[in-house]
């Protein structure tokens, strides 16, 4: 096995008595796109900044391509960082921004221009080389920041919420764009996001964080259908949580619950009787809110997507008594360890 592009070993970051990152172990595989995913304040940026060298871990070690870089200053790490604010140099042109890294590495001027142009071509902005950052749109600035980081031929590309300042359409376009750049350059990328769709769509490897700890990691195809616990499930958009009666807990997504007439046979699915509370029209489907009783006799609130075009039976309306079917194959079984109702944010 090749050495990972980067490795964090027992890395912690404490601010006073507050532990922002709590003894995490993490390997960043080469040539892949790894996302750090988690809610606001879970320590994603702090982790990325330690990797980039902007803050030293309180404890633990950081290896980059197998070498200890725990105390190496950022200018010696050769990592390309794209900041959430982009941090383009306002007094320099686009071309000079991109050529800044090669210049600091004493690359001769003609070669520098070549490299800057190459990086700008990669992001499709070579024609704007002479503009100042202020004369660019947000999406263009974002690409320049990307080109600037790529121009140093970094060992890793670190992106902190690179898409969060873009509008919804552009954000979806840029996901594909970053993937394209990654496959063209073969770069190792670490991307921080709090958007699960972004992580699912873009990652080779996704790392879920909560209160400074890693709660689950793996390929999206492995993580998505099998969230480890209720926190991960909620974060990935599982809205329904059922006790199965045999001590097991399961999560189901709204699109996998079927709302059917009371007398419909269960056919091996988990079946619950429920009362429709509310029906909200959402264009492609109806969002149905239901009150049900699970196998342990506890009251549960359920959400189901009801697509009129594929569903059988009548359209539900408020007050209806209905049956809910959850196919066994769609149940994600959860680790039963209880999650504290209010996260304590790792105060030690």
């Amino acid at each position: 096995m090749t050495t990972p592009a980067a490795e964090l070993i027992g890395v912690s970051q404490r601010f006073g008595s507050f532990t922002a990152v709590d003894a995490i172990d993490l390997q960043i595989p080469r040539g892949r796109l790894t996302t750090l995913l988690g809610p606001s304040g879970c320590g994603k940026t702090t982790t990325l900044r330690m990797l980039a060298g902007y803050s030293a871990p309180t404890s633990g070690r950081i290896l980059i391509e197998g070498d200890d870089a725990t105390r190496t200053p950022p200018e010696k790490r050769n990592l390309g960082m794209v900041f959430q604010s982009y941090a383009l140099f306002p007094h320099l042109t686009v071309a000079d921004n991109v050529a800044y890294g090669p210049k600091m590495r004493r690359v001769p001027a003609p070669e520098r221009r070549l490299r800057a142009n190459e990086a700008l071509e990669l992001v499709g902005l070579a024609h704007l080389a002479d503009r100042k950052p202020k004369q660019l749109s947000g999406g263009q600035q974002q690409r320049v920041a990307l080109a600037r980081a790529i121009a140093i031929r970094p060992r890793l590309l670190l992106l902190d919420e690179p898409l969060s300042n873009l509008d919804a359409r552009l954000r979806v376009q840029m996901r594909a764009e970053i993937r394209r750049i990654q496959s063209e350059t073969g770069l190792t990328i670490v991307l921080v996001t709090h958007d699960q769709d972004e992580a699912l769509e873009m990652s080779d490897e996704m790392v879920l964080m909560r209160s400074g700890k890693i709660v689950q990691s793996g390929a999206p195809r492995d993580v998505f259908p099998a969230p480890a616990d209720r926190f991960v499930a909620e974060f990935l958009g599982y809205e329904n949580f059922l006790a199965l009666g045999d001590g097991r807990q399961a999560a189901v997504r709204p699109e996998h619950l079927r709302v059917v007439p009371l007398d419909t046979p269960a056919d091996g699915a988990v079946a619950l009787d429920a009362v429709v509370r509310d029906v909200a029209y959402r264009g492609v489907d109806l969002l149905v809110t239901l009150d049900a009783t699970d196998a342990t006799g506890a009251a549960v609130r359920l959400l189901a997507d009801h697509r009129a075009d594929t569903a059988t039976g009548p359209t539900p309306s408020a007050g209806d008594r209905v049956r809910i079917l959850a196919p066994e194959a769609r149940l994600a079984l959860l680790d039963p360890t209880p999650i504290p109702a209010t996260p304590t944010e790792g105060i030690s």
């Binding site: 060298g53 902007y54 200018e75 960082m81 140099f89 007094h91 800044y100 600037r148």
Partner: protein
Amino acid sequence: MSQVLSQAGKRSLRLRHPVAGTLAVAGYVVMIVPILFVVATSFTAGSTLRFPPDGFSLRWFAEAAAYTPFVEALVSSLQLAVLATGLALLLGVPVTLAIHRGRIPGKELLEGLFLSPLVVPELVVGLALYQQLMIGLGLNNFSTLLLGHTALLLPYAVRVTGASLALADPALEEAARGLGASPLRAFVTVTLPMLRPGLISAGLLGFVTSFNNVPLSLLLQTRDFRTLPVTMLDYVQQSYDPMVAAASTIVLAATVVVAVVAERTVGFAKIFGGINR
């Protein structure tokens, strides 16, 4: 920002309240009219300060330019102003960086300390410097004066450069580091260019403040080192001819030029925003 708002506020105040408006106009008149009198009399062809002037000539300008004490004092004043401004910037920029970017305890105290000369009357500072440095330590007159002026300008340097530093994204310097710049190179290639408007306005403001200062210079003067304003003050006490008016007009014109340059490069709103922040 708040400066701009308060200016807009004043403007509408003047429009809406005839009394406030009249007072404001009266204030400008009281300030500007005597200056206009001085300027007008400096062009007189006669030999007394009188209004209206007797005819028109530039002879008093020629006399002022040829009067050795004025010329020497001008050179002294320029030397002092340039050196004091340079020193204030040299000391002020690191202080600004420490206040805005440093991780030091007691930042507010430090900021307060460096702004105190704005508050403490210059005469008090002058007297203290006179006693401590000139008498106590036996420092020569020019050094004492230079220290006094530097202290006088330091708050301007800290505030004005601080205002432009506050506008710069701290991530810029980090980005430069990540791209391979040492801390020093990151400072020189990224932070310093961000500071440039602040440095220019602090420099101009400092220069004008030092050049026109009377209280400190008066208290710390000696026979062999006098600034231009102090020399002119002495001159007025002995004779009363239009030459001093001509000298004043020249100084006034130079100050206006500096102010216009400052306005063109950075703008007053920014300069004074920096001081009042």
